[in-house]
């Protein structure tokens, strides 16, 4: 398992506050599991997670460790919010309030979704300006740019 190295390091180092150590490990496992569902394949979630935890492995001051845990929990909450918002926005677009059961294939272009899928080109200035721009898909693409 990914976190065994972290576990071994944690065992040898700070044993001052075992409860805190357990919290750190639980947080790491939780973030690791969350990272599996990250929508952007280009973003190295697990690499960054590992790196950030390893950067702080030498911390000994309880208050500092607490601060780092709080930051980790903040990132976990932000990631959860990202996932639920993304899902909600997608469902809202596919099943709008004004048209009961029918999902709206016309209104939503799956290629212009938030997650950059390898098949759809990014709607940036890479397209030649003289060509007919795809007007309807730009609002959704614009959202993806932020």
């Amino acid at each position: 398992m990914m976190s065994t190295r972290i576990l071994r390091q944690a065992k040898t180092s700070n044993v001052k506050n075992p409860a805190q150590r357990l919290r750190v490990l639980a947080l790491y496992k939780e973030l690791h599991r969350l990272g599996r569902d990250y929508p952007d394949p280009a973003y190295n979630f697990h690499g960054k997670l590992r790196g950030l935890f390893e950067k702080n492995k030498g911390l000994t001051d309880e208050a500092e460790i607490e601060k780092a845990i709080k930051l980790g929990e903040y990132i976990r909450n932000e990631t959860l919010a990202l996932y639920s918002l993304r899902k909600y926005r997608h469902l809202k677009r596919m099943y709008p309030a004004d048209s009961l059961s029918e999902p709206s294939f016309e209104k939503h272009d799956p290629n212009a979704d938030h997650s950059p899928s390898p098949s759809s080109p990014p709607p940036s200035s890479s397209r030649p300006p003289a060509a007919n721009a795809s007007s309807a898909s730009i609002p959704a693409g614009g959202e993806a740019m932020t």
Binding site: Y83, Y88, H90, K92, P103, D113, N132, A133, S134, S137
Partner: protein, 268 residues
Amino acid sequence: MRPTAARLLNILVPVKRTIDYAVKIRVNPDQKGVDLNVKHSMNPFDEIAVEEAVRLREKLKDAVKSIKVVTIGPPKSVETLRTALAMGADSGVHVEIPESAPPPEPLGVAKALRAVIERQKDGVDLVILGKQAIDDDASQTGQMLAGLMNWPQATFASKLVVDTASKEANVTREIDGGLEELKCKLPLVVTTDLRLNEPRYASLPNIMKAKKKPIEKLSPSDLGIDLTPRIETLKVTEPPKRVGGGKVESVDELIAKLKEAGITAVKA
């Protein structure tokens, strides 16, 4: 002797394992189906249903005696049950069909659910399910189940308030042009709309706890039902590709382009 609590709710939440909402669907070369070798997860509307049941318990506390989740599907569907258990359900029922079997149709599912309900010793007071599945978008199972059970139904619910004392529920429904409020007697079938609630994410400790919760395994023959499809899929195709819009420089150009597209002026 202390009188037993008279009005306890037994809630049943059917859930379905569908292709994950974020997956890009690809039609198979034989044009008879879609690529199923992709990520699957619980139907989002069913997540909302599970969440609603859990919130009802948080609100009504001990008045909710049990929250049971049920799924009809191949062996892998048990993962969907585990997710529901991690969200707060108490136990699960897995009506297992073979991996190679065709996906069950809404009428078959409704009949299976009726059989499951009739097997429950304590009965079922409330069935909450998603309004439709994102793979077939049938939006039929809840309605068919209510018909088979001869129960009232409140579909596309955006708000659910249950009064256990009077065994009634006030349901606000999303309809064309606004909202409709219904008062229904239990037992009742409710189907969930998107705006009912925001489902929780099952945290790791809850997922671990869920592994200990019981899941009963049944087969369609145990329930005495036949899930043979009655509908034959003739062809599956992708919707026509979006053609980019065009910008025009003047009104004359607009009219010229409209004529090109075959749109003629309306005769006054």
